[in-house]
């Protein structure tokens, strides 16, 4: 396995914790994550690959039930309750204004921490843990515009699945060739800005 790619299992092994099984995930396996500035968890949302620093992610859980909250933005699925802790659960596809895709059994909720509060991020699938040295993280290129840009901290690269198939930019790959994929590293602080959560629609004041 290349130095840069390791899957979640390996990362956990290295951190000295016991491996979590699917069953653990069901009940919410939690591990203490040491500060690691180079490792990122990559995950898929609407066909694109995104990443978050591993120390911002507290737990990876299967999708759980949420309670809808009125007068909030559409990307807020609702509030969820994980072992007694209440947290807002955000549909990342909607938040990033991507075309939502059908979610299957691979869907997960990343439980992250911002300012000491937990949030859940719904993603289509969790891929693996990658290591990107700080100097290899590119600043978000000026080319990316639109609201999505504020949520982007930077870009990293990751070796994709070996071909044949399509690589970066849609070019055809030969068998055995490992294409490079871009991982968009997200900025939690802007992604989860409290100001964006509340939405009182027109005519929702004083009408009933």
């Amino acid at each position: 396995m290349s130095v840069e790619r390791e899957d979640l299992w390996q990362a956990l092994l290295r951190s000295g914790e016991t491996i979590a099984t699917d069953e653990d995930y069901e009940h919410g396996y939690k591990r203490d994550v040491p500060q690691d500035l180079q490792q990122y968890v990559s995950f898929r949302v609407s066909g694109e690959i995104y990443g978050l620093p591993i120390h911002e992610i507290e737990e990876i859980s299967k999708v759980f039930g949420t309670t809808h909250v009125p007068r909030t933005a559409d990307f807020l699925v609702g509030i969820g309750n994980v072992r007694g802790r209440i947290m807002p659960v955000v549909d990342l596809a909607k938040r990033l204004r991507l075309r939502p895709m059908e979610r299957g059994r691979a869907a997960r909720v990343l439980i992250v921490h911002l300012n000491d509060e937990p949030y859940g991020l719904v993603v289509d699938a969790v891929i693996d843990v990658i290591r990107i040295p700080p100097d290899k993280v590119e600043e978000r290129p000026g080319g990316i515009t639109g609201t999505r840009a504020e949520y982007i901290r930077g870009l990293g690269r990751r070796k994709g699945v070996a071909g044949p198939g399509k690589g970066l930019g849609g070019a055809e790959m030969k068998a055995g060739e490992e294409p490079e994929e871009i991982v968009i590293i997200l900025n939690l602080a802007t992604l989860l800005d409290p100001k964006d959560f509340v939405r009182v629609g027109p005519g929702e004041e004083g009408r009933g």
């Binding site: 807020l76 409290p194 959560f197």
Partner: protein, 752 residues
């Protein structure tokens, strides 16, 4: 949290505690200095507090705090050594230092923002030391004996000199303690001795080398005679010996009687020893004041005025003075006992308590499961014995779980005195800034409330006090003209009433003129002229709680734009509380806040609308009724019903929240359920599909992202991990009322 963050938050927590202690001590010192003299033990306590803060800052590398502590410590050292007098100016700088500490300890939103500048306060502190009196010629203390003198620290030696100068006799109390019981023994003896004077130091005795006992020589400065002291203290292994006669070489200058007005600023006084509390009658003769002779200073033989301080710190016979001499608040605490009780408390992170509560909740689930197993067992196993045994155990567990839950809730309870202390500082500052003399009377500081509630109360109470001092209390000349005492009086009261707590803020200021309010509301268009005419005084006064209402047109420097009572009301409502006001023009105003004792668990009414389940705090529910649809009238597009001869505006929750129906629920077209909710004097009927019953629910805070959704107050757990939103009745009532006010209709009486 990373390791660094953990350390930082521990440091901040400890530092804040120290500063709280320091602040309380200063407030007491200030009160004492106004009415007599400052207790040297208190000054020493203040010194020790900052000394420990300095050490703490050094260990955690907190440079700004360390630097400020260092300079502050020197100032306090000068105070305790008598080199600097405790004047109002000095106290001002000390209180300012507290504010600076507060700013330094507040976590900053932007980590790159530089620390607040401490240079100005440092300059002020250093300037104080320049006021230090030159060292006075020192008495010859040779007669005390080199043996004793050689082991006294500089501070202790200073105390010794002070005691002698004030004409006290020096006594050596010799005591022998069993090594196992020495803690208790010393405390008891200490308490006894403090009544008679000041304990200067404890000297281990020369022959204290026995393996199971420790002998001490305690130096006591006292005005009592050897006979009196022996009678009181010499018991068992304790003996009293005189080291110097009571009429030591220093003149006792008779001082003029104390002026009756305690609230005029005290002139700078030196820290001098307290007279014993007991001979109160005789001390009125001694109760000179310190420096009111018109000069601060050097009269008499050694240049010290005679003292009078009301009472030593740990006197149990008389409670410590409040901020103002004649009021005795409960729980204002004696400094020494309150410092001691501090060490018996543990600082608990509320999050840990939440964790514990969660565990209790999960244990509850396990218990349910066990009950299920029991059922199963009963069916399978015909033998009743095992089932019965299990049942007994489960019942026991249920009981203990309930106790555990209550125990954890109790841990969350803190005395409201925490907030009252902060308010006392605010009053002090405002009274200086606005040049209005204020007497603050506090009672019920020991009343306990959920910690979250107490924290949330801080802002609204501060708002109210600001308003009161700024707009309520008149300026001195006006008060004089009205025949009121020169100092404005503000009373802060807290007491328990059933399962609620009432907090009152009452002043003797000018009161709220309902006519003025009504006219202003009409002028601003918040109320129509017709409504204004028919408005009763109590309704008009409650207009101050309307959003955006303001008595003053221009903001004053101190309290900003006007009253801001709508914010206060909203905050109180968020705590499931209510606020009420009674006022009389020219006499004063009283605000009354009623709160549930604990926020964590409340009784709620569970309802359903469009398939979504919500909870309403039962406190706010006036009644729930079933209403035939034909009883509903529509006025200008808004639905109302007549209930008890009054019009009740109706709010459909499903429409208000734009709820998408979650399930196809059968709704009877002919009738609906209406939950009548009210806050203070307004009522609204919430139209819902189903009433699902009442139950106790555990309230959970919503994170910052979802906290501000209008109409939602929090999340509750209905048990079995079912999360349901709690409605913000205050907000809903507002929306309902606003809608109703938009209705203009002849013949519709004003909403009550």
């Amino acid at each position: 949290m990373s390791a660094v963050d953990q350390n930082a938050s521990e440091f901040i927590a400890e530092a804040q505690e120290v500063i709280e202690t320091f602040s309380r001590t200063l407030l007491e010192l200030e009160a004492q200095s106004r009415s007599g003299g400052a207790d040297p033990d208190l000054v020493n306590a203040a010194f020790r507090a900052i000394h420990s803060l300095k050490g703490l800052a050094g260990l955690f590398g907190a440079q700004a705090i360390g630097g400020l502590s260092h300079t502050l410590e020197s100032t306090l050292d000068s105070l305790r050594l008598g080199k600097l007098a405790l004047s109002r100016a000095v106290l001002d700088v000390l209180f300012e230092a507290i504010e600076v500490f507060g700013r330094l300890l507040t976590p900053r939103d932007d980590p790159d923002e530089p620390d607040p500048d401490i240079e100005p306060i440092l300059v002020r502190l250093r300037a104080l030391t320049e006021q230090e009196a030159p060292d006075l010629p020192q008495d010859n203390l040779e007669w005390v004996g080199e043996a004793i003198l050689s082991v006294l620290t500089e501070y202790e030696e200073h105390r010794l000199r002070e005691n002698i100068r004030s004409g006290r006799g020096l006594y050596r109390v010799h005591a022998k303690f069993d090594i196992l019981a020495i803690d208790v023994g010393i405390e008891q003896l200490k308490d006894k001795m403090k009544v008679y004077g000041e304990v200067i130091t404890y000297l281990p005795s020369a022959d204290g080398s026995s393996d199971d006992s420790i002998e001490l020589d305690i130096l006591l400065g006292s005005k009592s005679s050897l006979a009196e002291l022996s009678a009181a203290l010499a018991v068992g292994d304790v003996s009293v010996h005189r080291l110097a006669p009571a009429d030591a070489p220093s003149a006792i200058t008779p001082a003029p009687p104390r002026p009756s007005q305690p609230s005029t600023p005290a002139q700078p006084q030196r820290i001098a020893s307290p007279t014993p509390a007991e001979p109160r009658s005789t001390s009125s003769g001694h109760n000179g004041h310190n420096g009111h002779n018109g000069h601060n200073g050097h009269n008499g033989h050694n240049g010290h005025n005679v003292v009078a301080a009301p009472m030593p710190a740990s006197s149990r016979r008389e409670p410590a003075p409040s901020l103002l001499a004649d009021d005795v608040p409960e729980g204002a605490g004696v400094s020494e006992t309150s410092l001691r009780s501090l060490s018996q408390t543990v600082r608990v992170d509320l999050r840990r308590l939440d964790l514990l509560m969660n565990l209790v909740g999960e244990l509850g689930l396990v218990q349910n499961n066990l009950a299920g197993v029991l059922e199963h067992l009963r069916q399978l196993d015909r033998s009743a014995d095992v089932s019965r045994e299990l049942q007994v155990q489960i019942r026991d567990m249920t009981r203990k779980l309930a106790l555990l839950q209550q125990g954890i809730l109790d841990v969350r309870m803190v005395p409201i005195g925490q907030v009252f202390d902060k308010l006392a500082r605010v009053v002090r500052k405002l009274s200086r800034d606005l040049d209005k003399d204020i007497r603050l009377v506090i009672s019920g500081a020991e009343t306990v409330l959920d910690k979250l509630i107490v924290e949330e109360l801080s802002d609204p109470l501060m708002h109210m006090i600001r308003n009161c001092i700024d707009h309520g209390i008149e300026a001195a000349p006006e008060r004089a003209r009205l025949g009121k005492p020169p100092a404005g009086r503000i009373e802060l009261r807290a007491f328990q009433k059933g399962n609620r707590v009432v907090i009152e803020v009452e002043d003797d200021g000018g009161g709220i003129d309902w006519l003025q309010i009504r006219d202003m509301a009409v002028r601003k268009g918040q109320v129509t002229p017709e409504e204004g005419v028919s408005m009763a005084p109590s309704e008009a006064v409650n207009l101050i709680f309307a959003p955006g209402f303001s008595i003053r047109e221009t903001a004053t420097e101190v309290s900003g734009r006007g009253v801001g009572m709508d914010v206060v009301k909203t905050n109180i409502a968020k705590l499931s509380g209510m606020i009420d006001v009674t006022t009389e023009v020219g006499k004063g105003t009283k605000f009354s806040i009623t709160l549930p004792v604990t926020l964590a668990i409340i009784q709620a009414l569970v309802i359903q609308s469009a398939g979504h389940t919500f909870c309403i705090p039962l406190n706010s529910v006036l009644e729930s009724i079933m209403v035939e649809t034909r009883e509903i009238s529509t006025i200008e597009g808004h639905e109302v019903i007549i209930l008890n001869k009054k019009t009740l505006p109706l709010l459909h929750l499903s429409r208000l929240f734009s709820l998408r129906p979650l399930s196809r629920s059968y709704r009877d077209p002919h009738r609906v359920y209406v939950v009548v909710v009210g806050l203070a004097q307004h009522r609204v009927g919430l139209v819902v599909d189903e009433l699902l019953g009442q139950q106790d629910v555990v309230i959970k805070p919503l994170g910052s992202a979802v906290r501000n959704v209008p109409g939602i107050a929090g999340a509750t757990e209905l048990g079995a991990n079912r999360t349901v939103l709690l409605l913000d009745v205050g907000r809903l009532v507002d929306e309902g009322v606003r809608q109703a006010d938009a209705t203009v209709s002849i013949g519709v009486s004003h909403v009550r």
